[in-house]
């Protein structure tokens, strides 16, 4: 009897902590969404429903430009880092490769470094080389912090790969290239998509590395938002944030398979 009640106590405690954790995670976001429709300059009280901030948002040229910059960098860095990641993961499948361990170390190193160090070191590199910072330097930086993730996510998919399928295809007379494109690539595709999605998310989320590697005149959305918060004109940021949160929700809900692949790579 006593044991039973103790088990119940544990379960109750877990549930309580869980509930608090959920409230903790969601209340700020929820408030942000609600206030994006609030017809008041400051966020103290509810003054009625409005969509005017969304109107301001869409008319704002700087935000539109920042959004386009973000997407451009995200798409390009995703394509490049996923391609690099796929090639590397395939190459490193060969466990007998000389120097493999050292290379793996180099791949993991960026993951255990605080972002700010990558930002500072790249900023100094571009200064040393006398390169003008802008779109290209941001793109280079984004590929650099994404590529380790893409390699690792695709590698974890390759780990469970059944090589007898390749042998079967070869036995049946398929050329190596055919085997790769018709058998192997389709089978590891969920991993490739997960890697691409992860690097896309990392790219649009990054503030600090972009902050150090973007020049004046090339703002991504996080950079623009930070600048706006600092200047104190925040009303459109509520609306912008709500749109971003909505997009995230859609992405998370509609990508079940990819999500699973992402969780299993943890």
């Amino acid at each position: 009897m006593k044991r039973f009640s103790r088990a119940k106590f544990f379960k109750g405690m877990n549930l309580t902590v869980f509930t608090f954790a959920m409230l903790f995670l969601y209340i700020p976001i929820l408030i942000l969404v609600i206030y994006s429709f609030n017809d008041a300059r400051i966020v103290t009280s509810w003054k009625g429903f409005t969509l005017k901030y969304y109107g301001q948002l869409f008319r704002n040229v700087a935000i539109r430009q920042a959004f386009l910059n973000t997407m451009l960098i995200a798409v390009l860095s995703t394509v490049i880092s996923t391609l690099l990641g796929l090639l590397t993961a395939l190459g490193l499948e060969n466990k007998k490769l000389k120097g493999r361990k050292g290379f793996m170390g180099l791949l993991y190193a960026p993951l255990v470094m605080p972002d700010i160090l990558m930002g500072v070191s790249l900023a100094l590199l571009f200064n040393f080389l006398r390169v003008n910072t802008g779109m290209w330097t941001v793109l280079i930086a984004h590929v650099t912090f994404c590529v380790s993730y893409t390699v690792i996510v695709i590698q974890s998919r390759l780990e469970g790969f059944d090589n007898s399928l390749i042998e079967a295809a070869m036995d049946l007379g398929a050329k190596p290239s055919t085997t790769f494109f018709k058998v192997k690539l389709p089978l590891i595709m969920p991993g490739v998509i997960a890697a691409a999605l992860l690097s896309f998310t990392l790219s649009i989320d990054d503030f600090i590395i972009t902050f150090f590697t973007s020049g004046r005149g090339f703002d991504t959305l996080p950079i623009y938002v930070e600048g706006t918060i600092r200047r104190g004109t925040i009303t459109t940021i509520n609306a912008l944030s709500t749109l971003v949160i909505g997009l995230t929700l859609l992405l998370v809900v509609f990508t079940k398979r990819i999500r699973k692949s992402l969780i299993s790579s943890f």
Partner: protein, 287 residues
């Protein structure tokens, strides 16, 4: 034999582009950080003249406080994350498959929402005439608004908020694989619930805790954005000091380089410490 040499060559070729990329854009930049630390600062740039001032200042205690604050913040954040994440991960791991999926989505949504937007939402929540103060005053818990924004408490709250999913997910993936019949067996043999937890569940989930600590503690050491947006501007963290030295005029890039190097050493120290602890616990046979 010939075939394997050939395929080795191909494998090198496949891996080479990333290897070259990371060498140029990850390793070489650290070398430059090392060099810049010994140069002379200029208002907008650096002068290529040898100078030991930056490292002297790094070691003479001028910048001791930002480092101390950052380590303290990283430790506090990590501990709070473990305390909250463990019950949450445990609950998810033991839920039925259908519920499990929903709960995981709930954890991932904030994780995928833009970082700066989440921090911004906390500013609204915590501000002097913000929502939390309004609620607390309305239910009569406080008579005057609390000044939480721009305090160390605000920094800790937002840090835990941002890094919590990074602790929950690795813990979950370890706990999910845990064989819960072991617990049942221990309890059948007379162990209490508490004892079974400390003797079985906790040791078996150590690897998840280590992974989580790695994902939370290390980035916390270099954090800039959170203290910048919600913290007290009188207590600066290492990340902020480095950023100011790079961005604000007069610039002091040698100092920023020396501080970055200090942070790098600190990170390496903690990684080594973690590695030794993990090895030790493996030798003792708990993991």
């Amino acid at each position: 034999m010939k075939n394997s040499v050939k395929s080795n060559k191909l494998d090198y070729l496949l891996a080479a582009p990333t290897l070259i990329w990371l060498t140029i854009f990850f390793l070489v930049p650290y070398l430059i950080v090392l060099i810049y630390g010994f140069l002379t600062p200029d208002i907008f740039d650096v002068k290529f003249e040898f100078n030991l001032d930056a490292y002297r200042q790094l070691l003479d205690g001028t910048y001791f406080r930002p480092f101390l604050l950052s380590v303290r913040l990283a430790i506090t954040t990590t501990l709070l994350c473990i305390l909250i994440a463990y019950p949450v991960a445990y609950l998810i791991a033991r839920a039925s498959d259908k519920v499990k999926n929903t709960l995981l989505i709930l954890i991932i949504i904030p994780f995928w929402t833009n970082l700066i937007i989440r921090i911004f939402s906390w500013r609204i929540f915590l501000s002097y005439n913000g929502v939390m103060n309004n609620i607390l005053m309305r239910i009569g818990l406080i008579s005057q608004p609390l000044e939480i924004m721009r305090t160390d408490l605000a920094v800790i709250m937002v840090m835990v908020y941002v890094y919590l999913p990074y602790m929950i997910l690795p813990l979950y993936s370890v706990l999910e694989k845990l064989d819960f019949t072991l617990l049942q067996a221990a309890m059948d043999l007379g162990a209490t619930e508490v004892k079974a937890f400390f003797k079985i569940t906790l040791p078996l989930s150590l690897e998840g805790i280590f992974a989580g600590v790695l994902l939370v503690f290390i980035p916390s050491l270099g954090t800039y954005l959170i203290p910048q947006l919600v913290g007290d501007q009188r207590s600066l963290y290492v990340g902020q000091v480095i950023t100011y030295k790079i961005k604000n005029i007069p610039r002091n890039w040698p100092m920023a380089s020396a501080l970055s190097f200090g942070l790098l050493v600190l990170v390496a120290f903690f990684l080594l410490l973690g590695y030794i602890l993990l090895r030790k616990s493996k030798v003792r046979g708990v993991v």
